[in-house]
Symmetry: D2
Subunit: 155 residues, 4 copies
């Protein structure tokens, strides 16, 4: 099997990303991937079942954590994929990426999660041959910074 082009790799990521059952529950869609900058973003819209606070009509903290972890994890996959380079064959790379898991994550809830739609972006702080550390941000449609996160992934 030959290694896919970047555009094929993008479609592969999109399919895997949006096929995750809990991601479908949230309605999170892959938005952009920049392989050179190793950044990635995803979007979702507010739905009644994502609300956490009855009294103030804001997103549940768990919805925000889900978006941050999902975006962080796929940003880490892009970085890990590139880091593995040509020395490892394509199938072994995919094997390692499917085992990639979150080690730990910190979320800072900066403003109440108000808005009609949200975009979550991820970037890489560190990529090693075992670990990737990513930073994530969640903005609402008024471009307010709602939450940030930092997570460590093992692959």
């Amino acid at each position: 099997m030959t290694e896919p082009s970047y555009s094929e790799f993008f479609q592969l990521i999109e399919g895997v990303f949006e096929g995750v059952p809990f991601v479908r529950e949230i309605g999170l869609k892959l938005h952009e991937v920049d392989f050179e900058q190793q950044t990635l973003s995803a979007k979702f819209v507010r739905k009644p079942q994502l609300i956490g606070n009855h009294f103030h009509n804001i997103l549940h903290g768990g919805v925000i954590a889900t978006a941050l972890d999902q975006v962080g994890g796929f940003t880490a996959m892009v970085a890990a994929y590139q880091r593995m380079g040509g020395a490892i064959d394509w199938e072994e790379k995919i094997q390692r990426l499917t085992r990639l898991g979150t080690v730990d994550m910190r979320v800072d809830y900066l403003k109440p999660g108000r808005g009609e739609s949200f975009v979550c972006g991820g970037s890489v702080l560190r990529v090693g041959n075992k670990l990737v550390v990513t930073r994530m941000e969640l903005h609402n449609d008024a471009d307010e910074l709602i939450a940030t996160g930092t997570a460590t992934y093992l692959y």
Copy 2:
């Protein structure tokens, strides 16, 4: 309005807890509250839509973060309620509790989220007149420790 008994307060918490829309999505149910020890636990069962990793059939990290944040937040409410004591009247207490929000949270994912059902417990590390810090643990039905968390809440 007179202050409720502890049993009435338990039912109030249960109603608010299980009425949160995103908590209903997950299927998280309040299990036990110990007002003296200031601990609280909740349970949920695995459902197909909570899965995060296609390849290994395990919970999404966001499901785990949701359970930890929800349990931590309600543990914090119990502690804050008691901390406010008799000096503040019942309606003002409830007002402050409805504004309680997560400031930040760290989650450590210790083992893959495998299992048929899960129990998440919370306890208090610090309670002040503005902040509560709680620690949370998630176990599966084989009593394996799947994840731990620490979170700071403002009220």
Copy 3:
């Protein structure tokens, strides 16, 4: 007592910052404060007693944590001072600032702490009327990003 000018406030910060006993141990010096951007930086040079790893001649993680916490705390002070504004009198402001304390901090160690000198910068993620959340970065003299941190302060 009249409120000081910004330049007097800078000197006040510098005196307090560099007067902290453990900061003197490290040799951390206040470098720049930008009151408009609410950013602040400090510098220190490597000394034998700051080493943590015998085998690789790198800074102890605790030295890095100290620099991040100290810079984050003083960045938070600047933000809190401005946030309090004119409604609170000067002496009460100073009182509140002297009680400012770290609630929690996450540090990510991205690269080994090698270098002759280090600069640590802080900026504000959130400033409320009780809490400030700051982000910090530590670079070495080769401009490598050694560590980042996020911390929550109560005032």
Copy 4:
């Protein structure tokens, strides 16, 4: 070279622990190691140069972070050493342990760092073949819980 007994291994740890230059600055001494429970503790006494807050005569947050990171790291070494077991030879084990480094750490500052002396204990939350996650606690001589931490180490 034959593998040392546990008592020889304890002395080896103590020598390495107390030989770390920045640990000597703080005055942190190894107290107890329980190889079966994989727990470890260290002690230090208050000295003028460890103070962080002029106004309230309390430890600098960086001193606390240093103790937590140092104790967590050596707890992780004990766990990693045992995890490597008999399959890896003694010299390779030591090589890997000398490269053990902190990936990230969260510290929660629960009470002001008042006291004449302090004890810091660590225990293991997870030990894998690459990562160890530990939890740490710092108590003062009145047995008050001053701070807790969670850290991830790579070896």
